[in-house]
Amino acid sequence: MESHEPTESDDKLLVQRTQSGDSSAFDALFIKYSQRIYGLVYHMTANHEDSGDLVQEVFAKAYRSIRGFQGKSSFYTWLHTIAVNMTINFLKKRGKRPQMSLDDLDSGLQNDKELAALIEKRDPLKEANLNDLKKRLNEAMQRLSHAHRVVVTMFDIQGMPHAEIAKILGISDGTVRSRLYYAHQELQAYLSDLLQ
C-alpha cells in the first residue's frame, strides 16, 4: 500500500510551482501519476487505445484547472476524481458496446505465487487458457455497472484503501464496502465455472 504522507508534501510543492507557471513541475506530476491513472482508466474501459487518449485528456484538464485547485484535498485525490468522472462520462457516451483492446500480461505475473501456479507449464494450451482467462475476466468486469466497476478497480486491482476510495468518489466508507460486496457477488456469478 502506498504511503501518501511523504508524497503529499512533495505534490503540494509541485502544484504550487505549477500554479506559479513552472510547467516542468507539472511534468513531474505527470510522470509520477500517469501510470496509475492509466491503470484506473484501462481497467474501467478494457481498451488500451481509449485509455491512452483518456489519460491525456485527464492531465490536460488537470493542467487547465490547476490554478483553481485550492489544496482542500490532496492532488492525488483531486486527480483521481477527475479521472473517474471523465472515464465514466466516456463510458456513458460509448454505451454498452464492448470494445475491448487488452494489454498483455507483464512479467511481474511470475512473482505472484498463486498466479504463477496458473501458468506454471508454459505450453500453448496454458497460454490459450491464460488469454481466455484474461478475456473472461474483462468481459465480466464490463458487465458490472460503472459504480461497481470503479470500486473493484480501485480496491481489488489498484489496492486503494476504502477511505481513499470514499474520498475520491465522494461517498461514505460504508457505501464503498457495500458496493464492493455486491460487485464481488456479481463477478462470482459471471465467473462461477472458473472459480473455486
Binding site: D27, F30, I31, S34, Q35, Y38, G39, Y42, H43, H48, G52, V55, Q56, F59, A60, Y63, L102, D103, D104, L105, D106, G108, L109, D112, E114, L115, A117, L118, N129, L133, K134, L137, N138, M141, V152, D156, I157, Q158, H184, L187, Q188, L191, L194, L195, Q196
Partner: protein, 179 residues
C-alpha cells in the same frame, strides 16, 4: 484448469495487464505535443474571432451612419427644408464659392472583392503609393491595393487591431481578413 483460483487472485491478475515501460516513457512527449496543438488551435481561433468582430463592428458603424430611424429621418427632412429656405436667397452670392469648392466624392462601385472599409476625414483621395492613407474617394479600398502599404496615420485609423498580420505594424488595419 486443475487449480481454480479465487476471485481476489483472479482480480490480482489484472494488475499485470499493462503496456511496457516505453509506452509510459513516451506519454509525456505525447502530452506536450497535444498541448502545443491546443495552443495553436486557440491562437488561430482568437485571431479569427478578433478580426471577424472588428470587421462586423466597422460594418455596423457604417450602416448606423447611413440608416436612420423614421423619427430621425423626419427631423432630418424638416431641418433640410429649413436649411434650403435659408440658403436659397444666398445661393446667388455663393456661385463663385461653389466654383472653388472641392468636388463631391463620386459614388464608388462596389464589388465583392474582400475589402477593408474605412473613411478619410477630409475625403481627399490620396495616392496609393504615398505614405499616407491610400483612400479612394468614397472610402473603399480593396485588399489587393494594400499589399506593401505602410502603416496608417492616426487620423485615418478606424478601429484598433490586436494582432500583427503578415509583418505589418500593430494598429494597422491594412491587413488581409482571410487566412
Amino acid at each position: 484448469m486443475q487449480n481454480k483460483p479465487d476471485l481476489q487472485t483472479l482480480l490480482r491478475m489484472k494488475r499485470h495487464e499493462t503496456p511496457g515501460p516505453e509506452y509510459f516513457e513516451n506519454m509525456l512527449g505525447e502530452f506536450h505535443r497535444r498541448q502545443r496543438e491546443e495552443l495553436l488551435r486557440k491562437s488561430a481561433w482568437m485571431i479569427w474571432k478578433d478580426q471577424t468582430e472588428a470587421f462586423f463592428a466597422s460594418i455596423r458603424e457604417s450602416v448606423a451612419s447611413v440608416v436612420l430611424s423614421p423619427k430621425t429621418a423626419l427631423a432630418g427632412a424638416a431641418a433640410a427644408i429649413v436649411l434650403a429656405a435659408v440658403m436659397l436667397p444666398k445661393s446667388q452670392e455663393t456661385v463663385t464659392t461653389l466654383a472653388q469648392a472641392k468636388p463631391i466624392a463620386p459614388v464608388v462601385e462596389f464589388d465583392n472583392r474582400p475589402a477593408s472599409i474605412f473613411f478619410s476625414n477630409d475625403g481627399i483621395a490620396a495616392d496609393l503609393k504615398s505614405p499616407l492613407l491610400p483612400v479612394r474617394q468614397g472610402g473603399l479600398v480593396f485588399d489587393n491595393d494594400l499589399v506593401g502599404v505602410p502603416a496608417l496615420t492616426a487620423s485615418n485609423r478606424v478601429a484598433p487591431h490586436h494582432y500583427v498580420a503578415e509583418g505589418l505594424p500593430t494598429g494597422s488595419i491594412a491587413a488581409r481578413v482571410s487566412f
